[in-house]
Symmetry: C2
Subunit: 156 residues, 2 copies
DNA sequence: CCTGAAATTCGAGGCTT
DNA sequence: AAGCCTCGAATTTCAGG
């Protein structure tokens, strides 16, 4: 169960994972150690799965983002292709999609040349039939911060 | 410029944004304060754009992920539709896509009913012509952690 | 969930290049 | 000037109540 205070803590940590316990404690009206205890519990329960520093992709030479549908001919339930795609550097997300028996992947690369190389690499996977890419021209919003609505959350 | 030590620091902070400076210092062979100084500089230069706690979407009642192409009929260069989409709760990413004058958005909702509601809301935007959604059945990989290759990085 | 002690943070100031 | 180090007060975090 996620109560009102957990919700506040999660909201704060989503927008700044390095917020001090003292600051959180002030906002929620508790002692810092109690906040820490709740955070640890949320981690153990798998509600918080990690803390990531978010980087500016362009600053590290990854100026091109693309989404690619990868159509496969593997038996349903097989995950080999998904694992193989996940292992390729620059592949940020791999989702198995309803509908067209395909994976939808999000990739970040340095530019068009690198994207071509990556697509060629994917095309060499034995189970891959073809790919269909959408190149991103401009990213308006990109966040991992999720809206938290208390009532929809898990039961014990 | 991002040197070898910055690369190490960024790699560590990407996989765990709450790693203590003392721990990082041990790994890179420097004093904690020097690590802190480098981190602050990376923040000021915009290489590190933030720190996010990553949550398990299912734990907060967001069990359904989908990607939706939103076809618009707004003039090129306009960003109104993108802003409107960004403001909708559950919309995590909004990218303007090459090719079909469309936005590609990533959404998280509680289930099919919520997705239908969200698509209806999008359909009501005056500039939106139609939408085309791909529902995610299974997510194999989902990370914001980017591979860092020193040589491709920015110059001064 | 709160008190108290050990570890850590992060500023100021000094040293080396 | 730039970068790293040492030191010390404030904070984090762990143990115990």
């Amino acid at each position: 169960m996620i109560d009102e205070i957990d919700t506040q803590i999660l909201t704060i940590l989503q927008s700044n994972a390095r917020t001090s316990n003292a600051d959180i404690a002030r906002d929620v009206g508790m002692a810092p150690s109690a906040v820490l205890e709740r955070v640890r519990k949320l981690e153990r329960r798998g509600v918080i799965t990690g803390y990531e520093a978010r980087l500016n992709p362009e600053a590290i030479g990854l100026g091109l983002t693309a989404f690619t549908f990868v159509k496969t001919e593997e038996p349903v339930g097989a995950t080999d292709t998904g694992e193989a795609l996940s292992a390729i550097p620059g592949v940020m997300e791999v989702h198995y999609a309803a509908g067209s028996a395909a994976y939808l992947i999000k990739v970040r690369v340095s530019g068009p040349k690198a994207l071509a190389d990556l697509l060629k690499e994917i095309g060499r996977l034995p189970t891959v039939r073809d790919t269909n890419s959408t190149v991103v021209l401009q990213t308006v919003k990109e966040t991992g911060i999720m809206p938290i609505s208390r009532n929809t959350a898990e039961e014990a």
